[in-house]
């Protein structure tokens, strides 16, 4: 009897173990990595420890970071905004460097990227460039453009003029034919005919009574489907408010809130996918209840200003980095839980689910 029980357990236990593993796998079929824009390197952090998984060397400070749908390829802007690096995020290796500088018959065409993104399938890159021709002893400005680049051949396929002030390109979720183009206002680029059209006035709203919005989206979000950024609004009567603007990447619908405080200036904001709470950072950390538009929790970064806040892949924790050489894990009550020292100062952080 006892022997039979042991035999049963002998067979059942491995099944239970396997069964549990496969259940866990189904729930979490990805590896979570945090990509942090450093100086001269992309810092890859495994937040589960946390520890630095890899440092990928590039030229100069890292700016934009975008990823394919499966998270397995990343596009990173660095080298004083002159080079786009295509990175294999599984092996953490650079696949390619695309330098957008070019020559003209009169000199050098200095192109700087202010907003770039990789297509969900990883075949193309899109980059908004300002263009300046450096002639022998003078400079000539050329119109700024969004370039479509084939990542296989590294060739420029198409381009469209785009307004100055553009600084973020972001694919519409589940629709690889459209890119949201964030500048002073929000535009939409239709890739079928490479046409750009105004989607919504933000600095220049249709109704000025709604207030002119001012934001600098150096810290775009959207990994969970919601892009969000702190917003300063100025009204015709002189009122200035601070709050948050966010957009559902699938519907393209923008919402805003203005919280009940004097503007102090925040750099980045992240909103949970249920649109329940927003978290902002710079010299202070705020937790904002979206429904009531009130700051329900307030704290301060432990070692000085932090530019970037993001949510963990499971949205259970908050990650902070940007400015100094640190990565912080905090709970959603804004209490620091873990701290990791990084090799360089940083700008922003992206939380990516790399499919297994």
């Amino acid at each position: 009897m006892t022997k039979k029980l042991v035999q049963i357990l002998f067979f059942v236990f491995p099944l239970l173990v396997l069964s549990n593993f496969s259940i866990g796998s189904a729930e979490k079929n990805y590896t979570e990595r945090v990509f942090i824009s450093g100086y001269g390197q992309i810092i890859v952090v495994d937040p589960s420890v946390p520890k630095i998984a890899e440092s990928i060397e590039v030229k100069g400070p890292v700016r934009d970071m975008s990823f394919t749908e499966d998270g397995k390829t990343g596009l990173f802007l660095a080298n004083d905004r002159k080079s786009l690096y295509v990175v294999d995020t599984v092996q953490n290796k650079i696949i390619d460097e695309i330098n957008l500088q070019a020559r003209t018959d009169k000199g050098l065409l200095d192109r700087r990227v202010w907003g770039s993104t990789i297509s969900p399938d990883g075949k193309k890159a899109y980059a908004f460039v300002t263009q300046g021709e450096k002639r022998r002893n003078s400079f000539k400005v050329h119109p700024s453009k969004i370039l479509e680049i084939d990542l296989g051949s590294k060739e420029e396929l198409r381009s469209v003029e785009a307004p100055y002030g553009t600084h973020v390109l972001q694919f519409k979720q589940d629709d690889a034919s459209k890119i949201f183009v964030w500048g002073y206002d929000l535009f939409e680029l239709d890739l079928k005919d490479m046409k750009l059209k105004l989607k919504q006035g933000i600095k220049n709203p249709e109704n000025k009574e709604n207030g002119a919005g001012n934001y600098l989206m150096l810290f775009p979000r959207g990994e969970n489907g919601i892009n969000s950024i702190p917003l300063i609004k100025e009204y015709p009567d002189g009122r200035v408010t601070e709050g948050i603007m966010w957009m559902n990447r699938q519907s393209g619908k923008i919402k805003t809130l203005e919280y009940d405080r004097e503007p102090i200036g925040m750099f980045s904001a992240v909103i949970d996918k249920n649109e329940q709470y927003a978290y902002t950072t710079l010299n202070k950390w705020y937790k904002v209840d979206i429904k009531s538009q009130k700051i329900v929790k307030e704290s301060a970064p432990p070692n000085g200003s932090l530019y970037g806040v993001n949510l963990s892949a499971d949205e259970e924790k908050l990650y902070y980095s940007g400015a100094g050489n640190e990565f912080i894990i905090a709970n959603k009550d804004l209490e620091v839980e873990k701290h990791l020292v990084l090799p360089t100062d940083t700008l922003d952080l992206k939380v990516i689910k790399i499919k297994q």
Binding site: W114, N137, F139, A300
Partner: protein
């Protein structure tokens, strides 16, 4: 026949002599040799022509379409080295600045308006340019002095816009509160109209040069220490002048000796490098006539320690008054006044032409440099500023008649000091000075007719900023304000004693209290201590 030939020869020789004199002599007698085929100078051709070719009008591209101060040219050359790979020696760099300032410089009238910028005066409160587009597109980053110290053709002003957009494309993001390119176009229109390269004053001045050799008397003012007097002598050297100067504060210690070298740019801009003991002092002066030099100096390693100076050429013909303590005389009383100058033993009461109701009742020369005077001012005399005239005496500067001191003002009204000295960056202190003011004829404060009576001694203190309900008290960390109004910031770097704010930066309220004629006057100003001026090439 011989007579006729001799006559012709004399005519030809005479003509050649006149032509020669015309070529070599400038209006002030300065030797001015310029080879027709040389563009600006041989050094400019050697260093610049590989990129700046001669254009269709026979001018060096860009270079001969702008005019700048020596400081402006030095910045341009530094940028050519920093960004465009220009390789030159220190000697060549200096020669370029000298040559460009001489051929493509500013007239004295043009430079006078931007002397504060040329002298790099910290905490100088510059008035906004009258053009709104200039304010919107330029002032966010630059002092107006920077571009007001330049003259350009319209094309060159336009080039400046493209230069900014190509070199600093982030300008779009920094200026997203405005439509920068559109505002810049409007600004360029204004600048081209008001700061064009062609100017009569430059045409009149170009090629002239003052000779400052000889002895001078000096009057200066240094905030927190007061007025001083001194003597100076300039001696010609290989590439400029050497100067020996001795000064003594009216209230203070014994004489201080300075010596240094100075160079003259554009024929009138003196740039000095002194040593005072171990202290290095830089001076920026303009010769405004054969007998007058005006300018500013500052410590090389602390721009906030600074002073203003005027030089008067020594003469022994007639009395000359260049300073008075005080300069503001109260009505209805007899004012005890000390007058400073030269040849003052020759001065007689009747030499001074004073306004109605003002009478010199006593004049005692204690030396050729100082007179003790008693000046009675009638209660009915006019409240105003005035000049003292007289054929037999030269009197510099304006004097003031006033009823009473009504209020105080602190200068600078918004003090910006900078941490420094821990690393490569120097600290910038602030010399706070309290000035007394009278309400003037209308009896109201802060109106156009108010009279500035001069600096006054004050009791100084620092309060929190804002004074009431300050969320944080920065005073223990940011620096010290001494009893004379000298504010000295602390060093940069992390201060572990501070919570959240990591460095010795912050705000405070500066207060000055002064008792004038038995009445206590107080005033306040805003002070900040901020980071070192790391990006100091965009001023």
């Amino acid at each position: 026949m011989v007579k006729q030939k001799l006559g012709s020869l004399i005519v030809i020789v005479g003509f050649l002599s006149i032509m020669s004199a015309c070529v070599e002599q400038s209006p002030t007698g300065h030797s001015e040799k310029k080879t027709a085929n040389v563009h600006v100078s041989k050094q400019v051709e050697k260093s610049c022509i590989s990129c700046h070719a001669v254009d269709q009008e026979g001018k060096l591209e860009r270079i001969e379409s702008v005019r700048k101060s020596p400081e402006g040219w030095a910045q341009t050359i530094a940028r050519m080295e920093r960004i465009h790979g220009l390789k030159i020696t220190d000697k060549e760099r200096e020669q370029l600045v000298v040559d460009l300032s001489k051929e493509r410089g500013l007239a004295p009238e043009e430079a006078e308006k931007v002397q504060y910028w040329l002298a790099n005066k910290p905490s100088y409160l510059e008035a906004n340019p009258p053009n709104e587009s200039v304010v919107k597109s330029c002032i966010g980053c630059h002092a107006a002095g920077r571009f007001e110290a330049q003259r350009r053709t319209e094309e060159e002003w336009k080039n400046l816009k493209d230069f900014h957009l190509v070199m600093y494309p982030s300008i779009y993001l920094n200026h997203r509160h405005t439509d920068w390119p559109e505002e810049a176009d409007k600004a360029i229109e204004y600048l081209a109209k008001n700061y064009g390269v062609e100017s009569k004053v430059w045409d009149q001045w170009k090629g002239n040069e003052y000779d400052v050799s000889g002895k001078w008397k000096v009057v200066g003012f240094q905030g927190t220490k007061g007025f001083y007097l001194g003597e100076s002598e300039f001696t010609k050297s290989n590439d400029g002048y050497t100067e020996k100067k001795s000064i003594k504060f009216l209230k203070g210690q014994g004489p201080q000796e300075l010596s240094g070298n100075m160079k003259i740019y554009t024929g009138y801009m003196l740039r000095s490098h002194y040593m005072q003991g171990k202290k290095k002092i830089n001076g920026s002066y303009n010769v405004t006539s054969e007998n007058l030099i005006k300018g500013d100096w500052s410590y090389k390693e602390d721009l906030g320690i600074t002073g203003e100076e005027t030089y008067y050429k020594v003469q022994n013909e007639k009395p000359e008054i260049f300073h008075s303590e005080p300069r503001a005389w109260k009505k209805g009383t007899t004012n005890k006044v000390n007058l400073y100058g030269m040849n003052l033993k020759k001065l007689k009461t009747e030499d001074l032409e004073l306004p109605k109701g003002v009478e010199v009742t006593k004049l005692t020369a204690t030396s050729d440099e100082q007179i003790e005077a008693e000046i009675k001012v009638s209660k009915n005399s006019e409240t105003d500023t005035f000049l003292v005239n007289g054929d037999k005496v030269a009197v510099h500067g304006k004097f003031t008649l006033y009823d009473k001191a009504d209020y105080l003002k602190i200068e600078p009204s918004y003090g910006v000091s900078r941490m420094g000295d821990a690393g490569p960056m120097d600290k910038v202190s602030i010399q706070y000075v309290a000035y007394a003011y009278s309400n003037g004829k209308d009896g109201k404060s802060e109106t156009k007719d108010d009279l500035k009576l001069g600096p006054v001694e004050a009791e100084w203190s620092l309060l929190t900023y804002p004074e009431k309900n300050a969320k944080r008290d920065d005073r223990p960390y940011i620096g010290k304000l001494d009893k004379n109004g000298l504010y000295t910031p602390k060093e940069e770097g992390v201060n572990k004693d501070r919570t959240f704010v990591q460095e010795n930066v912050g705000s405070a309220t500066v207060t000055a209290k002064s008792i004038i004629d038995g009445e206590t006057l107080t005033t306040k100003s805003h002070h900040i201590t901020t980071v070192p001026d790391y990006v100091n090439n965009i001023h």
